[in-house]
C-alpha cells in the first residue's frame, strides 16, 4: 500500500506499532505466490491475487525479488479425495488457471519420485510458485521510502479523529496528520476500526498456524509445492521448499483468543512431523532446523474485508490472510481505485527510484561469494559480517534480533546460533532495545586462558 500510493504521487506516512515492520501476521506466512486457482471465484480476494501475482512477476527482476518456479500438486490420498479433484480442476479453469491438469498416481510420482507411493492422484498447477514472505514486502517498503514515503516504527495508534478535512491521529510517538487513513493493522484491524471510526464491520478471529522447517538437505527431495485436497475449515498441511533452500511443513489451523501468542506446541509439531513424513517418507532422515508459528487475521467472513468510508476519508483493509502475500500488490491497486473514487488524484512519481537490495535467497548470488564480505559469521546460512552490518544500518535498520534474522537469515539455520551467537552478541552491541547479552564485568573474571 505504501509503495503503491507513494508511486502514484501521494505523500505517505506508515505507522507501525512494532519495533520492526512485518512483525505481526506477515512474519508467519507460508510464502507461496498463488495463482488463485482455488480462491473463491469472483471474490475480491481472487481479483487481488490475480493482479498481485502478475505485478510480482513484472517487477521482480528490477527489485531483485526471489522466485522459485516450483509448480504445485494438489494431492489426493484416498478415493473420496480423488473424487473431489475434478471439481477443483473445474474451478481452477474458471479462475483462469488453464494449464492446471489432473495427473495419475504414476504421473504424479514421476514428477515427484520421493512422494509417498500411497498417493492416489493429483492436480498439477504449474504456475504456483514459492517466494519469500520477508524480502518482497520489505522491498516494497524500501521502495516507498526511497520515493518519499515516511515510516514511523514503535508508533502505536492510540486514538484519532476526522476533523472534516483531515485526520488527526494520536500515536505513542505523538500526533500524526493525514488527509485519509488506511487501516492495514492486520491482527488488530477490527480494534483500529473501533478506535478510529467507532465500529468495525468484521471481527478478527486469530487462527494460529505452526510450521516445521527441515534442513536444507530436504530440498533435494521435492520440487513442487505439495498441497492436500482442502476441506471446509483449512487448506491443510503443505510441504514445500523455501526460497532459502529449506523445506517447510505446515501450517496447522488453530483458533485462539490471543492475537500475539505465536507459541509452537510440542504435540502439534509432532503431528506435523508425522504428516510431513507420511507425504515424503524420506523426510524422516532429515533433521529439523526450526519451528515457528504465525497468526492469521481471519474473520467471520471468507473474503477480504475491504471497505471505503467516503464521509470519513477512511479505508479499512481487513481479513487479509495467507493469500495476502500474493495479493498485496493487487490489494494496493484495488484500494488505490477506491481512493480515486473519493475524488483524489496525484501526479505519479516521474522517475521511480529502486532500492539496492542484497539478495538472501538461496538461488541468488550471495554476499559470501563476493570480495570484501568481511567473513562469514553465521555458517549455516552463510551470512557475512558485511550483511549484518548493513542490516543494522540502512534505511530500515533492524531493531531486534528477530528483525536482523529476517533481513539476513542469521541464526536461522540448523545450529540456531550454536556457532555464531557469541560473535553476534558483539556485533549487535548497542543496536537492540532488547540486547542479546551484556558485558561481563572484567574485574570479576578469572582468566581461564592462562592455565
Amino acid at each position: 500500500m505504501a509503495r503503491q500510493f507513494t508511486l502514484e504521487g501521494a505523500s505517505v506516512l506508515a505507522l507501525e506499532k512494532g519495533t520492526d515492520i512485518l512483525d505481526g501476521a506477515s512474519k508467519g506466512n507460508s510464502a507461496i505466490l498463488h495463482t488463485g486457482f482455488d480462491a473463491p471465484t469472483d471474490s475480491v480476494e481472487h481479483a487481488c491475487i490475480v493482479a498481485g501475482y502478475q505485478e510480482y512477476l513484472d517487477i521482480r527482476t528490477k527489485l531483485k525479488l526471489p522466485l522459485l518456479e516450483t509448480g504445485a500438486l494438489v494431492t489426493a490420498w484416498n478415493q473420496s479425495e480423488e473424487n473431489l479433484l475434478t471439481g477443483i480442476l473445474e474451478k481452477a479453469h474458471i479462475n483462469g488457471v488453464a494449464d492446471a491438469k489432473i495427473l495419475s498416481a504414476k504421473a504424479t510420482r514421476s514428477l515427484e519420485p520421493e512422494l509417498s507411493s500411497s498417493v492416489n492422484a493429483s492436480i498439477h498447477v504449474p504456475r504456483e510458485y514459492v517466494i519469500d514472505p520477508w524480502t518482497a514486502p520489505f522491498v516494497y517498503m524500501l521502495q516507498a521510502l526511497e520515493n518519499g514515503a515516511q515510516l514511523l516504527r514503535n508508533a502505536e495508534v492510540l486514538g484519532g479523529e476526522y476533523e472534516g478535512d483531515a485526520w488527526k491521529i494520536k500515536t505513542s510517538q505523538g500526533i500524526a496528520k493525514g488527509k485519509i487513513v488506511i487501516n492495514c493493522a492486520g491482527l488488530y484491524g477490527d480494534k483500529l476500526d473501533e478506535i478510529l471510526i467507532g465500529k468495525s464491520s468484521f471481527e478478527i478471529r486469530p487462527r494460529k498456524g505452526q510450521f516445521l522447517v527441515y534442513d536444507k538437505a530436504a530440498s533435494q527431495l521435492i520440487d513442487s509445492i505439495i498441497l492436500p485436497v482442502p476441506n471446509e475449515i483449512t487448506k491443510g498441511v503443505v510441504v514445500c521448499r523455501t526460497a532459502f533452500g529449506n523445506v517447510l511443513v505446515g501450517p496447522t489451523a488453530e483458533e485462539q483468543k490471543s492475537r500475539d501468542d505465536a507459541s509452537v506446541t510440542e504435540n502439534e509439531l509432532l503431528a506435523l512431523k508425522a504428516k510431513g513424513e507420511e507425504i515424503i517418507p524420506a523426510l524422516a532422515d532429515v533433521p529439523i532446523t526450526a519451528t515457528y508459528a504465525g497468526i492469521r487475521p481471519a474473520t467471520q467472513f471468507k473474503d477480504y474485508c475491504i471497505e471505503a468510508f467516503d464521509d470519513k476519508q477512511y479505508i479499512s483493509v481487513g481479513g487479509i490472510r495467507s493469500t495476502g502475500l500474493s495479493g498485496a500488490l493487487g490489494i494496493a491497486h484495488h484500494v488505490f481505485k477506491q481512493y480515486q473514487a473519493f475524488g483524489k488524484s496525484h501526479a505519479p512519481v516521474s522517475s521511480i527510484a529502486y532500492p539496492i537490495v542484497t539478495p538472501i535467497a538461496q538461488d541468488e548470488k550471495r554476499d559470501w561469494e563476493k570480495a570484501g564480505n568481511e567473513g562469514i559469521v553465521c555458517h549455516c546460512e552463510l551470512v557475512t559480517q558485511r550483511e549484518i552490518k548493513q542490516a543494522l544500518a540502512g534505511e530500515i535498520p533492524a531493531g531486534s534480533l528477530e528483525g536482523l534474522k529476517r533481513r539476513t537469515r542469521v541464526t536461522m539455520g540448523r545450529c540456531q546460533g550454536f556457532y555464531c551467537s557469541a560473535k553476534l552478541s558483539e556485533l549487535t552491541q548497542g543496536c537492540f532495545k532488547q540486547p542479546l547479552a551484556k558485558a561481563i564485568k572484567k574485574s570479576s573474571i578469572k582468566k581461564a586462558d592462562d592455565k
Binding site: A217, E266, I288, C415, A422, S425, E426, A448
Partner: protein, 422 residues
C-alpha cells in the same frame, strides 16, 4: 596462512581445526606428506576446546592437564610447528566428487582441489527448535556451546538465572561457565531418573548451589520478548512452574555433517555422521572423516587419537598402499536392535592382504545388560557380554582372526542385542 597463500591444489585438505583435524594434519606432516592445509571457518583455530574454560584436556596427547583454551592453543602451535598451513576465515560451502572444494573467504568465492579431503567438522548441540519445545521465541534460549563462546570468547552474558536442560558432561561444564560469568542457574533438569554423566558429578550442582531435578521434563518456555520462566512436569505427572530468564539446552550432540549431507557422501541415519569404513573412508574414497563428525560425542583426546590414526590411513591411501582404493567392495554392518544407538564404522572394506584387527565403537540408547552378537547369514561370528549405560563409549574389538574370517565369508554383518532377563 594469508589468503593469497591459499593454493589451488594440495595433497590433503582438512576441514575443521579442532583436535581431530589438527591431529590429522600434524601426523600427516610427520609422515612426510607435503601439502597439508587445514581450512577453518572461524577467525581462530582450535575448535570447541577454545571455549571450554575447564579441565581436563590433554592427558592423552600431552600427558598433562590443560584448560580448554590453553589446550587448543597448544594443538595449534604444534600443528604450525610441524609445517601445517591453517587457512582461517575460510569456509567450505560445498564439495564435489573427487575432492574439489568450493570455498568462501573474505575475498569471495574460490576453489581448492585436494587429493584427499578430511572431514573433521566436529559436533554441535541440538538446539531448542529440533527438540520441538513448546513456547514462543523469547531471547535467552541457547545451547551450552553458544553460552561458552559468548562467555569465554566475547566476554558477554545473555542472562542471570537460567535453567539447564540435560545432565551430560557438557551440562556440568555449563554450570562451570555460569560460575565463571557470575550467572546463577536456578535448576538443572534431567528427564531420566539419574544424571547422564558419571554419577559422582551428581553432587556438583548441589555444591554449586544449583537444584538438580531428575525425572523432570521441560514442557513449556514462558515469555515473549525474554524468557520469564519454564513449566516442567515430574514423573508423578505434577506440573510445576518457576521463574528464570534463560534456558540452556545442553548435550544431545549431533555431528556437524551438513557438508556431507548436502554433498554426495552417504550419511548413516544412526550416527548422523558420514558412513565410513575401518579406515575412516567415506563413500567417496577421496573423502575421510575423523573425530566427532563421525558420531556424537567423544572427548577431545579421543578425537585427537582418531585423527592420528586417520592420518596414517591417509598416508597409506596416498601411496596406494591402502587396499581397496580403486574398487571399494565392503561388508556392511547393520544394527538390528533399538538398544544400539549407532556403530562406527558402518562397513568393513575388503582387504586381500595386511588384515588388521578392527575396533567398532557403539553406544546404547538406554541402560542395558545382555549379550552383543555379531552374525552373518552363516551364523554367529562374535559376541560379548556387556552391561552399559547410554552416552558411554563401548568398544568391540574384533581380532585379526575374526576380521579374516569375516572377509573370507564376505557376508554382510548384523549386530544384535540379547537382553538378560532381569
Amino acid at each position: 596462512m594469508t589468503k593469497s597463500a591459499l593454493p589451488t591444489h594440495c595433497d590433503v585438505a582438512i576441514i575443521g581445526s579442532g583436535p581431530a583435524g589438527l591431529a590429522t594434519a600434524t601426523e600427516l606432516k610427520r609422515l612426510g606428506i607435503a601439502d597439508v592445509i587445514v581450512l577453518e571457518r572461524n577467525s581462530e583455530a582450535g575448535g570447541n576446546p577454545r571455549h571450554c574454560g575447564h579441565s581436563p584436556f590433554g592427558m592423552r596427547e600431552f600427558k598433562r592437564v590443560y584448560f580448554g583454551p590453553k589446550y587448543a592453543k597448544t594443538l595449534v602451535a604444534k600443528a604450525i610447528e610441524s609445517g601445517v598451513g591453517i587457512a582461517l576465515n575460510t569456509t567450505v560451502t560445498s564439495f564435489e566428487k573427487g575432492g574439489l572444494l568450493n570455498l568462501s573467504t573474505k575475498q569471495g568465492a574460490t576453489q581448492l582441489k585436494a587429493k584427499i579431503v578430511v572431514l573433521s567438522t566436529g559436533i554441535r548441540e541440538n538446539p531448542r527448535s529440533a527438540r520441538l519445545v513448546t513456547g514462543q521465541r523469547p531471547l535467552g534460549i541457547m545451547t551450552a556451546g553458544a553460552l561458552q563462546s559468548m562467555v569465554y570468547l566475547s566476554d558477554n552474558k545473555p542472562f542471570e538465572n537460567p535453567v539447564i536442560i540435560g545432565s551430560e558432561l557438557v551440562s556440568f561444564s555449563a554450570i562451570a561457565t555460569c560460575r565463571h560469568a557470575k550467572i546463577k542457574p536456578v535448576a538443572m533438569i534431567e528427564e531420566n531418573a539419574r544424571s547422564t554423566a558419571w554419577s559422582f558429578l551428581r553432587l556438583y550442582p548441589k555444591l554449586q548451589g544449583v537444584r538438580f531435578l531428575s525425572n523432570t521434563r521441560l514442557v513449556k518456555i514462558h515469555g515473549k520478548e525474554r524468557v520469564t520462566g519454564v513449566s516442567v512436569i515430574d514423573a508423578s505427572g505434577e506440573k510445576k512452574q518457576f521463574s528464570c530468564d534463560g534456558v540452556i539446552f545442553t548435550g544431545q550432540f549431533v555431528p556437524e555433517a551438513s557438508l556431507a549431507r548436502m554433498g554426495h557422501l552417504e550419511i548413516d541415519s544412526k550416527s548422523n555422521g558420514p558412513a565410513v569404513d575401518q579406515f575412516g573412508r567415506c563413500s567417496d574414497p577421496a573423502y575421510f572423516a575423523t573425530g566427532n563428525v563421525l558420531r556424537p560425542v567423544e572427548t577431545a583426546g579421543w578425537c585427537w587419537k582418531e585423527g592420528v590414526e586417520t592420518a596414517r590411513n591417509i598416508a597409506d591411501s596416498l601411496s596406494d598402499e591402502l587396499v581397496g582404493n580403486e574398487k571399494q567392495t565392503s561388508i556392511s554392518i547393520k544394527i538390528e536392535s533399538s538398544i544400539i544407538k549407532y556403530c562406527v564404522p558402518q562397513r568393513i572394506a575388503m582387504q586381500s592382504s595386511d588384515i588388521q584387527a578392527i575396533q567398532l565403537q557403539i553406544r546404547l540408547t538406554k541402560p542395558a545388560k545382555g549379550r552383543l552378537v555379531i552374525s552373518s547369514n552363516s551364523g554367529e561370528i562374535w559376541s560379548k557380554r556387556i552391561s552399559g549405560l547410554p552416552e558411554r563409549r563401548i568398544l568391540l574389538s574384533l581380532s585379526k582372526e575374526t576380521v579374516e574370517s569375516i572377509m573370507v565369508k564376505g557376508e554382510d554383518l548384523v549386530i544384535e542385542f540379547e537382553s538378560f532377563k532381569q
